[in-house]
Symmetry: C2
Subunit: 142 residues, 2 copies
DNA sequence: GCGCTTCTGATACCTGGTATCATCTGCTTC
DNA sequence: GAAGCAGATGATACCAGGTATCAGAAGCGC
């Protein structure tokens, strides 16, 4: 099989008990090569460009599989529906996105945990889900 | 006109330069009476229950108007598309939602600003948009 | 290679939301 | 209180993102 995704991504897919198929390999490869989170339509287009035979449903199913495997995260963005991002690190974490160049940085989860803990304390809540969508302009785009 | 929304909500709509119509009054009233954020379908149903003549487009347009007027906020929720919430305070702020009873509390914006400022400093970003989606269980539902 | 299990593509469908446009109505002015 | 106009409404069609179904195809462990 012609490999499109990196070996590490392929092994993360396998580790989640999922099969490597040419479709998954290609879709993961497209996401891995992207500089910024890809929106649904962007991803569909980019995939169709490389193999027009891949069905719409397969793309969305693969996205779901990759999210389940912790390889891909959906990042909400202000205004639109957000995009999909292939992160080198597995597990739940949060992102800071540059609105101009699309550059993405992972937040320091310690800092996030500190904030969430403080909110939980102040409000007497058990917080078991935090979605953070931070965006702005990076040092280069300011 | 039979008033459904409170006088304060009506005056906030007027203050934003928008007209009071029976439809807006009713939709705002439904949101004002809700205990928890209403999803799109829930709102459509609740509105249709009170006046079946109100069109789908009007409901969504009114939601947009109320958001523009700062009267309603869209709150993202884990899993689904989130819901619409009529807040007593205008302006951009964030929410903490109980997943069980739907209870909503406003976050202390000072605390949010502190966190966002720390992230901005650490990453060298200008952060100009922060969407926070915190949810968990309140003291009563724990 | 074999076979089980999973995956795929086509298609139809669903939800949330927007565009269009002819008609109607809240609000201001007189 | 009536007139007139900007702005709102409802019907309808449309769009994007995403899911359900199902017959057929193909990955992987043996
Ligand atoms: Zn990441
Ligand atoms: Zn940038
Ligand atoms: Zn609020
Ligand atoms: Zn609760």
């Amino acid at each position: 099989m012609l490999c499109v995704a990196s070996e590490s991504v392929r092994s993360r897919i396998l580790a989640a008990g999922q099969r490597i198929t040419p479709q998954r390999d290609l879709i993961a490869g497209v996401l891995e090569a992207a500089e910024a989170p890809l929106g649904a339509q962007e991803l569909l287009d980019a995939v169709a460009l490389r193999d027009a035979g891949i069905g719409r449903a397969t793309v969305f199913r693969t996205l779901q599989s990759l999210q389940d495997a912790g390889v891909v995260q959906h990042v909400p963005l202000p205004g639109d529906q957000g995009g999909y991002l292939l992160c080198p690190t597995s597990g739940h974490h949060h992102h800071l996105v540059c609105q101009r160049c699309g550059r993405v940085e992972d937040l320091l989860e310690d800092e996030v945990a500190l904030f969430v803990g403080a909110v939980a304390r102040d409000h007497g809540f058990d917080i078991d889900h935090a979605g953070l969508e931070l965006s702005g302009h990076c040092s280069g785009c300011r």
